[in-house]
């Protein structure tokens, strides 16, 4: 094994590395966001990049999300490749206009004559006690908008490879980064490589239940799978990775084998990712293979609370996944 093959770095270092490689290779790549310079970013992802590439390319914006994101869109439209960091994905709500009305639609509205290769990075999710306005999982909102690509890597390897893949194509890409993943370590090769946007990844193969999960829920589903193994329940875990365009094909194929589907995601359950996946199954020939009703396990119908006990209760935990998977195996249509 070479050093590179065994090298482990964190999820945030993997993103850092992707940005550094891209900036070295391509003058058009610039970074924009609040406190991404000397502060190193709210989650220390941009780190020392301002010292390596200078403040002309690592630009601290004022606290102006609508304007800042819009400037990135305008720069992308005119030959730059900006990577815009929101401090928290919650603050993208202030920039909805530029993301949804402008970036997503510009190419279409102008008859395919332009492209907007902007990348936006959005730290999301609960679990850090940051409460209602700093903990949301809003990725499904954005995935509802044609023109945007929405990705959600869950390993350091994918974080680097998918960001580098995003830089190689010409549409707006939103990268949701679950805050609890930043410190997670994993194998990451040193040089340039890409992980395609679109395909999901089967993290564990099993024959009894398919769990489709996103973000931190992938790790929880894998933990649950180990517990369930002890009960002779063999779980398949699919890491969705890309929300739009969604890889429904792999999910359909998996459900045809397992006949049971559990969707696990942190965003509010209703009208979310789980609804889309379930509908894809119901609309496909996998429908006839189902041995039990589909279960969606999502966030509670409430904002994320502060108090640790409440916060835990507001989003799926390993125990909840185990309980739902057990339920699925026992229930029959």
């Amino acid at each position: 094994m070479t050093d590179s093959a065994i090298r482990e770095i964190s999820f945030s270092q993997a993103i850092y590395e992707a940005m550094a490689l891209a900036m070295e290779a391509d003058e058009r790549v610039i970074l924009m966001g609040e406190d991404i310079g000397v502060y190193g970013g709210a989650f220390q992802v941009t780190g020392d990049l301002v010292h390596r590439f200078g403040p002309e390319r690592v630009i601290d914006t004022p606290i102006s999300e609508l304007g800042g994101a819009g400037v990135a869109v305008g720069a992308a439209l005119t030959g730059m490749r900006p990577i815009f960091e929101f401090q928290f994905s919650d603050f993208a709500t202030l920039a909805m206009e530029q993301i949804v009305n402008q970036a997503a639609k510009m190419r279409y509205m102008l008859g395919g004559e332009v492209s907007v290769p902007v990348i936006m990075r959005l730290p999301c999710g609960s679990g850090s006690g940051a409460a209602a306005q700093h903990s949301q999982s809003l990725e499904a909102w954005f995935a509802h908008v044609p023109g945007l690509k929405v990705i959600e890597p869950t390993t350091p390897y994918d974080a680097k490879g998918m960001l580098l893949a995003a830089l190689e194509q010409n549409d707006p890409v939103l990268i949701f980064e679950h805050k609890l993943l930043y410190k997670m370590k994993g194998h990451v090769p040193e040089g340039h490589y890409t992980v395609p946007i679109g395909p999901s990844e089967t993290r564990r193969q099993g024959k009894d239940v398919t769990i489709v999960a996103t973000a931190i829920m992938v790790a929880r589903a894998l933990e649950a799978a180990v517990i369930l193994e002890g009960e002779n329940i063999d779980v398949e875990v699919i890491d969705l990775r890309t929300l739009r365009p969604m890889d429904t094909e792999s999910i359909i194929a998996s459900v045809k084998r397992t006949s049971r589907l559990l969707c696990v995601y942190e965003g509010v359950k209703t009208l979310g990712i789980g609804a889309e996946i379930s509908a894809a199954i119901v609309e496909s020939d996998a429908f006839g293979f189902l041995d039990a009703p589909v279960i969606r396990l999502g966030g509670q119908e409430c904002p994320i609370p502060y108090s640790p006990g409440l916060e835990r209760a507001s989003v799926p935990q390993v125990d909840d996944i185990v309980r739902c998977a057990r339920d699925l195996v026992r229930r029959k249509i």
């Binding site: 406190d35 502060y39 850090s128 609370p305 502060y306 108090s307 640790p308 006990g309 409440l310």
Partner: protein
């Protein structure tokens, strides 16, 4: 001020014989001034205890301390009653206490307890006692600014003799909500006072790097309202500016923008490594600590003596200790109730 008491006028008569006495000391009664000093102690001690509990790993999440900014919170709230509204920020502990909240329920919120002001749902960034007219701390920079204007619109429609005071930081002055709100407050002549607590930085970004004007008060020109810059670490300067702006708002003349120049001596939040400022700068501002400055003025002008000051400080300390005990012995919220309070019915 219209509600001047005998005690205050006696104090005023004595003070008026002295030269250079800041105006604020003529407006307020002895009890009001003692109350202001006590609130400054309460804020400082609340936040020191909050910081301590973080460092010992007893609390969760993040927090933003306003240590060094107490004169701004307390000075601005001097002419306010519970009928007046405030909107606050992520750095809101001081505003909350200045507006009259009890430290016990604040600590309880801070520790995520059911007895906290937000029943453990909000935490440090959302602590607010709505019974005192506090419409909420806010996790969104600039989030409270239009809300204060809305409260002022209510006041006007309901023909109340009240104001809405809107606290925000220097960083917020570059959000669209700031500009849109000042414009509406101005065209509709609403009873609102905009208070920018300019502590020189929005997180790591200095106002020189983020803001096109030298003084944030200069922004007022664009919205045809008075804009003044005061020494935000001077209780008396802040209180005088507030008295004037509140009177103007209540008399129907419209909004004012007050910029309080101040400094947070602590980091932005837990994660701050202070890479963007120097130790010299921090020390220079720490030397202008608003609390000793207020004590010094109270002593110099013969308003309080050392013993009286010590009594106020001790009373504040007792309150903090019993507040901590109350909070620590309070129950956690029931996880089964997690989805309560989302809707009114």
């Amino acid at each position: 001020m219209d509600t001047i008491s005998n005690e205050a006028s006696n104090l005023n008569n004595n003070l008026s014989r002295m030269a250079n006495v800041p105006e604020a000391y003529r407006y307020f009664t002895l009890d009001q001034l003692k109350g202001a000093l006590k609130k400054m102690y309460l804020i400082r001690r609340f936040e020191e205890e909050a910081e301590d509990s973080y460092q010992r790993g007893l609390t969760y999440g993040t927090m933003h301390l306003s240590i060094g900014q107490e004169a701004s919170a307390v000075g601005i709230c001097m002419p306010l009653s519970n009928a007046d509204y405030i909107t606050s920020t992520h750095r809101g502990h001081g505003h909350c206490i200045a507006k009259g909240a009890e430290p016990g329920k604040m600590f309880a919120e801070f520790f995520g307890k059911e007895t906290g002001y937000c029943r453990g749902r909000g935490g440090s960034m959302h602590i607010a006692d709505v019974t005192t007219g506090n419409l909420g701390a806010n996790g969104i920079v600039g989030g409270g600014i239009p809300i204060a204007v809305g409260a002022a619109l209510s006041i006007k429609h309901q023909k109340k003799n009240a104001v809405a005071v809107c606290f925000f930081g220097d960083g917020a002055n570059n959000e669209g909500s700031f500009h849109e709100s000042l414009n509406m407050a101005s065209i509709w002549k609403l009873p609102v006072v905009f208070v920018c607590e300019n502590n020189q930085y929005g997180m790591s970004t200095s106002i020189e790097r983020s803001t096109s004007v030298k003084n944030i008060a200069d922004r007022a020109v664009s919205y045809s309202m008075p804009g003044i810059t005061v020494d935000g670490n001077s209780f008396s300067d802040v209180a005088s500016a507030s008295v004037e702006a509140v009177a103007r708002a209540k008399s129907g003349e419209g909004p004012t923008l007050i910029e309080c120049l101040t400094y947070r001596t602590r980091g932005h939040s837990r994660s701050d490594r202070n890479r963007y400022r120097t130790k010299e700068e921090i020390d220079a501002w720490a030397a202008r600590d608003p609390i000793p400055r207020f004590e010094g003025e109270l002593l110099n002008f013969g308003i309080l003596n050392e013993t009286m000051i010590a009594e106020v400080r001790e009373a504040a300390e007792r309150e903090i200790q019993s507040a901590l005990e109350f909070a620590k012995s309070s129950p956690d919220p029931d996880p089964l109730q997690v989805a309560n309070f989302v809707y009114s019915s």
